[in-house]
Amino acid sequence: MTDNNDGLVRDLARITEPGPDKMAELHQRLAAAAQREGLLDIAYRTIDSPVGPLLLAATEQGLIRVAYAREDHDTVLGQIAQWVSPRILHAPVRLDVAARELDEYFNRTRRSFDLPLDWRLASGFRSIVLHHLPEIGYGQTASYAAVAALAGSPKAVRAVGTACAKNPLPVVVPCHRVVRSDGAMGGYLGGPEAKRVLLDLEAAA
């Protein structure tokens, strides 16, 4: 029976097949409608940069996540689905300003970011630490101990390290400017090469 139906079923598949650009067109239409209806909780896109492809994700409130490729973008989106909302679509428009400002930063025509941020993925002391990081000026560095003092807990040096390692908004919130007291660069969630690239880029400007 099934054998007899094969040709017919194949033809049925043929006449209902989406054309080559159909799914992209429908996806775009869905993202626009979702935005209009207030259902697009998380919009994301990726951009190319000197530190590799970066994932950018934003809520209606602002940029909520910047992620390096080594964090694995699919894993990061899965975490956002779990912790914030699974209503997530690839929708570049909401990230246009963030993408442009990052592009300017990497081209050395921008020294600070002027973007609404959604801090939901950082809480408690981590959030306090991260809020102080923009006080470290472009092209400068501060030690983990100095940042602990800035955050009002001079003894919490290790906690500062953890806060930086879990920064949901790297590059934009400049945890790359936090280095070790002995002058060594220290770790970085985007990898030591990325930290080097960012520090060199800012030093050269």
């Binding site: 079923v9 033809d11 598949a13 006449i15 054309g19 799914m23 869905l30 899965g78 689905a81 209503r87």
Partner: protein
Amino acid sequence: MRAKPPFETVVRDHGPSVFRVCRAIVGTHDADDAWSETFLAALKAYPDLPEDANVEAWLVTIAHHKAIDVTRARGRRPVPTDVLPETADPGDGGGAQFEVLAAAVARLPHKQKHAVAYHYLIGLPYNEIAGILGGTPAAARRAASDGIATLRRNYLGDPTGFHGTRKGDTP
């Protein structure tokens, strides 16, 4: 326990198959609207979907209702040529035959058309189809097989509806 994936994954994994279903049940002209309304409604309801749900069956259930809305809003059954997409003509003379098939699909009784689309296009099991159409799994199976037999008759020119040689293939 597996966490719920981003909705983008749902669109990527199931968008094309739901589109096929929409084309079969409302025709080419209304398929885009039916698909868009389906996925917008699905996005809205997604946070409440149980994590162990059959996502495809859930989407088809939504599409089923949206298709009824779309067809009702137009106040007519899809006209036969509506079902034929612009991509169907292979340029080898098969275009006319595909038109015949599209017309035959459009003329199928409601239940048969939906059962054929859900089972033969995307492989939903009959118990899921019964959940969508109402009735028993056995009735869903019968509707699908009656629908296929009708198509075989009207498209392949097989009066018994059971043996398939396409009309014109052999002298």
